[in-house]
């Protein structure tokens, strides 16, 4: 397999009135779990649709598996779960899965065997003969997930795969994704849940307003932030920490969640001074840890900047 599975070279997509994706370049190496992060409306789904050749980029090129062929032509090697989930409601689950497998080029018999195995594995062995509309939302998601993976694709592209799942189903799906990655195949998924991406991805790209803000290995991105972040948990009197966290000579930015907080130290401040100030304030601490920034705070920092810059630029163009 080539080293780079997905390569986007300055792709741009405009819709009437606005630019959804602007000169975006990305490389997804083989075997990676790649997270495409961004706020709602950032252009994640549009990017994925261009990778799948559902939309054609106005400018730039998409290269898959290092060679020629569009997403549709190579669909036998790609599993795709779109953001808009959908199944034929009045079709039986097994028939539906066989059809999805056939659409990927599987033989009918083969598709059937695989579908039965997957249904068994995801805890739906008795549901094959039921109609899709009789299934709960979570079950339908699983069925669609099976449809995505039925043909054993080398590349799996999941658009918001974990949204709307309960914790049990979420765990099941997460396990499957991890297993795919372990077997050396490539996974690209989009999400706006940072904890999820932080736990699962080797690499991420953050996009906002159609433009790439940052990309690379998650470890590198976090190291770049340095060890200027302090994680706090409060045992009691958490409210008393308020004035300390608002002190701009000590704290550059604070993400205060009430019982916990993530703090970025101000330039010139050091952890000792912060600890002393907190102890003096009378707050009860159960955790005080100096570490790299979380993906969440990187995301807020980067996207926040971007969001502030972009309107100004739009105004200049107007």
């Amino acid at each position: 397999m080539p080293d780079i599975v997905i390569s986007l070279d300055r792709i741009t997509k405009r819709f009437a009135g606005h630019t959804a994706v602007q000169a975006l370049s990305l490389s997804v190496p083989a075997g990676a779990v790649f997270g495409l992060l961004g706020p709602n409306g950032a252009g994640k789904s549009t990017t994925i649709r261009m990778i799948m050749h559902i939309l054609e980029p106005d400018e730039g090129t998409v290269t898959l598996f290092g060679g020629p062929g569009t997403g549709r032509e190579l669909s036998a090697r790609i599993g795709f779960l779109p953001e808009e989930r959908g199944l034929y409601p009045r079709m039986e689950v097994l028939e539906q899965l066989i059809f999805l497998g056939e659409a990927k080029g599987l033989r009918r018999k083969d598709a059937r065997t695989r579908a039965l195995r997957w249904l068994d594995r995801l805890g739906l062995p008795d549901w094959g003969k039921r109609k899709v509309q009789e299934l709960s939302k979570g079950m339908q998601q699983k069925v669609q997930f099976i449809g995505t993976l039925l043909h054993d694709p080398d590349l799996v592209i999941l658009d918001e795969p974990f949204s709307g799942l309960d914790p049990v189903n979420l765990q099941v799906m997460k396990d499957v994704v991890v297993e795919i990655a372990r077997s050396g195949r490539t996974v690209l998924f989009s999400t706006h849940i940072m904890e999820q991406a932080e736990r699962m991805c080797d690499r991420i790209a953050i996009i906002a307003r159609g433009e790439k803000v940052v990309d690379g290995r998650i470890a590198d991105i976090k190291a770049e932030g340095g060890t200027r972040h302090v994680y706090l948990s409060f045992a009691h009197d958490g409210a008393k920490a308020g004035p300390v966290l608002a002190d701009r000579s000590l704290v550059a930015r604070a993400d205060d969640s009430g019982a916990t907080a993530e703090v970025e130290l101000a330039v010139g401040a050091n952890p000792d001074r912060l600890l002393r100030a907190l102890v003096d304030s009378g707050v009860g601490l159960s955790r005080f840890e100096v570490d790299e920034p979380s993906l969440q705070s990187i995301f807020i920092a980067k996207v926040g900047q971007q969001a502030a810059i972009a309107p100004a630029r739009e105004a200049a163009h107007a």
Binding site: M52, G71, R72, G86, Y88, P89, E95, A103, G105, R108
Partner: protein
């Protein structure tokens, strides 16, 4: 190819496996049998001769002549045909005060018992000059009975006119003997043995079947596209299938269902018509009643022509319906947006009726070359009087070209439209899709 077949198979199985399909497939022949048996039963009930009075105010033999003509009228042909009327002749004048009023009071009266009349024929000398004969009856609403009555009395009036002009009664007998027209159809220089009436029925039935198939199944293609759009399954599909595979698969899959159902219906109709004497017996009707409807015979060449144009027409219109569906998001919007397509189908059927009188006129020839109408017009023309091969090929060729053009335009609209959600596309937008597709 395997993918295309998967789409065709899905569209076919999903439809054939529904209760609606099974019910309509069974209901069709049941309805046919009903339409078949019901008139026979009515006919049997009406077989009793109708009581009619001839009120004779004329001089000479005129009244008797009318009375004889009515008494001689038979229902159907052959030696065992039943008489139509039981006729009583009453002379107007002395002893009969205001006879017409009293007779009219007996006409159609339910409480009059065996005295009840169906009608009164008023015979007067003035009829000879004016040619206007009066009939008072409870059955004047029946066009066929009035037509029959008119034929019968006309014969008598002509006879009386000739007699008064001094024509020899023997000559008169010969001159007024009834004439019936026995038609036989000739195709390609060979007598086919069908009557003109049966070709007409065949043409009518064929066009109507195409019309029904387009409205019922063409709109199913539309519904299927809208369903995929509203269920959001489209995105999964277009990531592995080309829009053209999707559209073609749908049209062929739904079209196969249409052919299957129409095949079953035609088979049932054929069985019913061939067994109609037995069926008539089953319901206690006389075998002679069952012969009322002519059996259309389909020749091999006509079947080929019909099926060819049926398939072409189906492709043309269902591709158009698929394109319409791609521009909308809900079934309601689809119904509205499909109006132009539906109007073309209705126009095709109406045009076909317009051409029945002159199947080889300029208008008919022109319509055969317009792809939108040829599927309705050409098979009907061919069934009325066989067309030369060159003309058939030209018509089929133009229609096939039309199919390619419509499929190309529909494919482009489809490709962009199927991923548009939320709003209905405007006409300028659709043109942009076709240009840039």
């Amino acid at each position: 190819m395997r993918k295309l077949f998967a789409v065709i198979r899905r569209e076919f199985m999903v439809r054939v496996h529904t209760r609606a399909f099974v019910i309509s497939t069974v209901l069709g022949p049941t309805l046919m049998a009903f339409l078949f048996v019901f008139p026979m039963l009515l006919e049997s009930r009406d077989r009793a001769p109708k009581r009619v009075v001839v009120l004779d105010a004329a001089s000479g033999e005129f009244g008797a002549r009318v009375t004889d003509a009515l008494a001689g009228a038979r229902r159907g042909v052959g030696p065992d045909a039943a008489p139509r009327y039981v006729v009583t002749r009453l002379a107007a004048g002395a002893g009969n005060v205001a006879p017409l009023d009293s007779l009219v009071s007996l006409t159609g009266a339910k409480d009059a018992g065996p005295e009840a009349l169906v009608g009164v024929v008023l015979v007067a000398d003035s009829v000879i000059e004016t040619g206007r004969l009066h009939y008072y009856g409870s059955n004047v609403g029946s066009l066929s009975e009035m037509g029959e009555l008119q034929r019968t009395v006309r014969q008598a009036v002509i006879g009386e006119r000739l007699a008064r002009a001094g024509v020899d009664p023997a000559v008169l007998m010969v001159a007024t003997a009834p004439v019936s027209l026995e038609t036989a159809r000739v195709s390609n220089g060979q007598v086919s043995g069908e009557t003109g009436e049966s070709s007409f029925i065949l043409a009518y039935v064929m066009s109507f079947l195409l019309y029904m198939a387009l409205l019922l199944y063409g709109t199913q293609v539309m519904g299927s596209v809208v369903e995929e759009k509203s269920n959001r399954i489209m995105e999964v599909l277009v990531s592995s299938l080309t829009p053209f595979e999707l559209m073609l698969g749908k049209v062929v899959g739904v079209g196969s269902v249409a052919l299957l159902q129409l095949g079953i219906w035609s088979g049932a109709a054929k069985l019913l018509t061939s067994q109609r004497v037995a069926i008539a017996g089953l319901f206690g009707a006389a075998p002679s009643d069952a012969v009322g409807m002519p059996i259309p015979a389909i020749s091999g060449s006509l079947l080929v022509v019909y099926l060819t144009f049926f398939v072409l027409g189906f492709f043309l219109y269902s591709a158009a319906y698929a394109a319409v569906a791609a521009t909308v998001s809900t079934q309601q919007e689809a119904q509205q947006a499909a109006m132009p397509v539906t109007l073309c189908i209705v126009a095709g059927l109406l045009l076909m009726f317009g051409l029945l009188d002159e199947p080889n006129g300029t208008l008919a020839r022109t319509m055969s070359l317009i792809p939108l109408f040829a599927p309705f017009v050409t098979p009907v023309r061919h069934s009325l009087s066989p067309l030369p091969l060159a003309e058939l090929l030209a018509s089929a060729g133009m229609t096939a070209l039309g199919v390619v053009v419509v499929a190309w335009v529909a494919g482009r609209i489809y490709r962009v439209g199927i991923l548009m959600y939320g709003k209905r596309a405007t006409i300028p937008e659709i043109f942009r899709w076709i240009r840039t597709g």
